[in-house]
């Protein structure tokens, strides 16, 4: 009886720990210096109007992204989680930066699907268009 009580208590504690761990929000991705980026960082080339990645998967945990603007316009790099085919609120971003520049972002990513986009709006033949709608959108998957 006592043993059962202890066991139940341990199970309860374990469960509580799990919930606590899950409940703690992951720190928002933040920009780092390109030099500080890990050698294993995901390399991204941004251009009109595409995002080219060296890899589309990563292990859960700290993931560094190094983004180079190879285009002629400003671009940005926004990390958006995807759950059940719905886009969530952006986790973090590299603000718009000029052509030719390179930036880095460090994110703590939980397993799941993500989409990287550029949400900058440009005038295309007199029509304002989001870069995302023009093709700057790519999927990324974080495995456990």
């Amino acid at each position: 009886m006592i043993r059962l009580t202890i066991l139940l208590g341990l199970v309860g504690l374990g469960a509580a720990a799990c919930f606590k761990a899950e409940a703690r929000p992951a720190p928002a991705p933040e920009e780092i210096r390109v030099a500080d980026a890990a050698p294993s960082a995901v390399l991204i080339n941004a251009s009109e109007f595409r995002l080219d990645l060296t890899t589309h998967t990563a292990k859960a945990g700290t993931v560094d992204f190094v983004v180079r603007n190879d285009g002629r316009q400003e671009h940005e790099f926004v990390v958006v989680p995807v759950r059940d085919d719905r886009y969530g609120m952006p986790l973090g971003e590299i603000e718009a930066f000029a052509a030719g520049q390179t930036r880095a972002l460090r994110a703590q990513l939980a397993p799941g699907k993500y989409t990287f986009v550029c949400l900058i709006v440009s005038d295309v033949h007199g029509q304002p268009k989001s870069h995302m709608s023009l093709g700057m959108k790519t999927d990324f998957e974080v495995t456990p």
Binding site: R86, G88, M89, A96, V117, L119, I120, V121, P128, S133
Partner: protein, 565 residues
């Protein structure tokens, strides 16, 4: 294994109930989801339109100021007032919050772009407010336009979606309403059907139980009847076996047999000289048994049963099969059981009823058991009465003897003294009897005695009795007579003997047989038996003295003779 019907019923109801509940749950889920989506879409449409109008506000604010500063016509860098800047800033901030809400609500590519575009608009506004150049103005215009375009494309879609969801909601509500109606109807039907079926089954079970109960009562009654019969049988057995009186045995038998099997008529017969003589009967008040009589062996039902030594049972039309002496009008069924002791049929026990099929095999068995006891009782009563007769009767003449006389007289005179009825006692002696014996031997003497006894007996009235008193003496008791009548009756006896062709002329020289008689009267001459017999004896001797073949009344002897006697 046969399933319990009740279990099947309950299972059916349970399954039907589960299906109904499942339909209700699914329907309510659809309703809830549809309503949630519809609400979300409506909210989203609202927000999108708000974002759009906010953008319009920002644009208009700028335009007002631009017109005021004549920027539109000069194409010079425009200026914005402080109030205009604050209002524009607030509108863009509100639009950002709405865009965040909208994106969280919908999470589509377009809402994500709207969210991004509001951010763009805000930074463009900030750039413009910091440096009001044509370039920053154009950038702001582009971003505002982008937002307007995005929301413009999204609003009708969201509205349509909301409307669709409303339609879905309405259908779901209708479906759920119909489901509830169907469920209610179905469950009512199922319950009604189950109730009907269970009710019918219950009714059937109840009927079966009633039948069982009735059968049980019937069986119990039958057993009770058998018990009663066996008790009665035992009673009869012990009663008849304890009795040595034939009359009592027969009476008990007919009475109890009638009760035992519920017969209308019961008759016991005894085998006497190869025929069945009626020994006793009992019947209900309506039955006429006057014609019951002797039945020859082998005739009728009674005769056949006795001859074959086997029980005969008739279930209908018994009357037709009966012989003359046994026939009772109106009898339909009957049982005749032979009374058997050893291998000898001593009589029959017959039970008859007006009811067709009144008797069954159980009755037959009961009567057979009874018959065994009754037969034995009849034989032993018969044997007893025979030995009683032997003890009280004279073997030669078959007349009651002196012992019987003493018993009878005691009773008769006791009764007579109570009622003051006069009786007469006549002492009779055969004249010259010794000479018969001496002349012709004992054989002739015996024959003489037998013949005199027969003549005396036949000369009597029904109520009178003659006894062999001893030797050649007889004693007659005349009941209820005066002296005069007693003398007349004595004379009848005397003359009968004198006239009777007893030994005829062949017995010469003795001559015809005569008797001498002495008479004493009760209570005139006394009440004591011995004394009266003595007086009659004396009177008889007087008759002898007077010359024999005559009668003398006690107290009327001639003086001399009386004194001599």
């Amino acid at each position: 294994m046969a399933l319990n019907p009740l279990v099947v019923q309950v299972a059916t109801v349970a399954v039907a109930g589960s299906v109904v509940v499942a339909i209700a749950v699914v329907t309510s889920g659809i309703v809830e989801r549809s309503s949630r989506t519809a609400t979300a879409d409506s909210n989203a449409a609202l927000m999108a339109s708000r974002i759009r109008s906010e953008m319009d506000t920002v644009a208009l604010l700028r335009l007002d100021d631009a017109i005021a500063g004549n920027a539109a016509t000069t194409n010079a860098p425009t200026r914005i007032s402080l109030q205009g800047a604050i209002a524009a800033h607030e509108a863009v901030a509100t639009a950002s919050r709405d865009a965040a809400d909208l994106h969280q609500l919908i999470g589509s590519e377009v809402t994500l772009q709207i969210l991004g575009a509001t951010g763009e608009a805000r930074s463009a506004l900030n750039s413009y407010l910091a440096s009001q150049t044509l370039q920053t103005f154009a950038d702001l215009q582009t971003r505002l336009q982008a937002l307007r375009n995005l929301t413009a494309s999204e609003i009708p879609q969201l509205t349509m979606s909301a409307r669709n969801n409303q339609t879905t909601l309405r259908s779901a509500a209708n479906l759920s309403r119909i489901t509830i109606i169907i469920a209610a109807t179905a469950s009512t039907a199922v319950v009604a059907m189950a109730t009907l079926v269970i009710g019918r089954r219950l009714r059937r079970a109840l009927r079966t139980a009633e039948d069982e109960k009735a059968r049980l009562i019937e069986t119990t009654k039958a057993m009770q009847r058998r018990n009663d019969q066996f008790a009665a049988l035992y009673q009869v057995g012990s009663e008849v076996s304890e009795s040595l009186s034939m009359r009592y045995v027969i009476q008990t038998t007919v009475r109890e047999a009638r009760k035992l099997v519920g017969a209308d008529v019961v008759a016991v017969r005894r085998v006497v000289n190869g025929a069945l003589q009626i020994a006793g009967s009992e019947q209900d008040a309506d039955t006429d048994v006057a014609k019951l009589g002797t039945v020859p062996l082998g005739q009728g039902l009674v005769g056949r049963a006795a001859k074959r030594g086997k029980t005969i049972r008739v279930d209908s039309d018994a009357e037709v099969q009966m012989a003359d002496g046994e026939r009772v009008a109106g009898m339909q069924s009957g049982i005749v059981v032979p009374l058997i002791v050893g291998a000898r049929v001593v009589g029959t026990l017959g039970c008859w009823s007006r009811v067709t099929g009144c008797f069954d095999s159980d009755d037959e068995r009961i009567l057979e058991m009874m018959a065994t006891q009754v037969a034995t009782a009849i034989v032993s009563a018969d044997t007893h009465e025979q030995s009683e007769r032997d003890a009280h009767n004279d073997a030669l003449t078959s007349l009651p003897n002196r012992r019987q006389l003493n018993e009878d007289l005691r009773g008769v005179l006791l009764e007579a003294s109570h009622q003051d009825t006069p009786h007469a006692i006549a002492m009779v002696d055969i004249d010259h009897f010794k000479r018969f014996n001496d002349e012709y031997g004992h054989r002739v003497g015996d024959i003489t005695l037998q013949k005199v006894a027969d003549v005396l007996k036949s000369s009597l009235r029904d109520e009178d009795r003659v006894y062999r008193f001893g030797g050649e003496e007889f004693l007659i008791v005349y009941a209820g007579v005066t002296a005069e009548n007693a003398l007349k009756l004595a004379e009848r006896a005397r003359s009968a003997v004198e006239r009777a062709p007893l030994t005829g002329e062949t017995l010469q020289p003795v001559g015809p047989v005569t008797i001498s008689i002495g008479v004493a009267l009760f209570p005139d001459h006394g009440r004591d038996i011995e004394a009266l017999i003595d007086l009659a004896d004396r009177a008889m001797y007087v008759s002898k003295e007077m010359g024999r073949n005559r009668i003398t009344l006690s107290g009327h002897e001639p003086e001399r003779l009386a004194a001599a006697a």
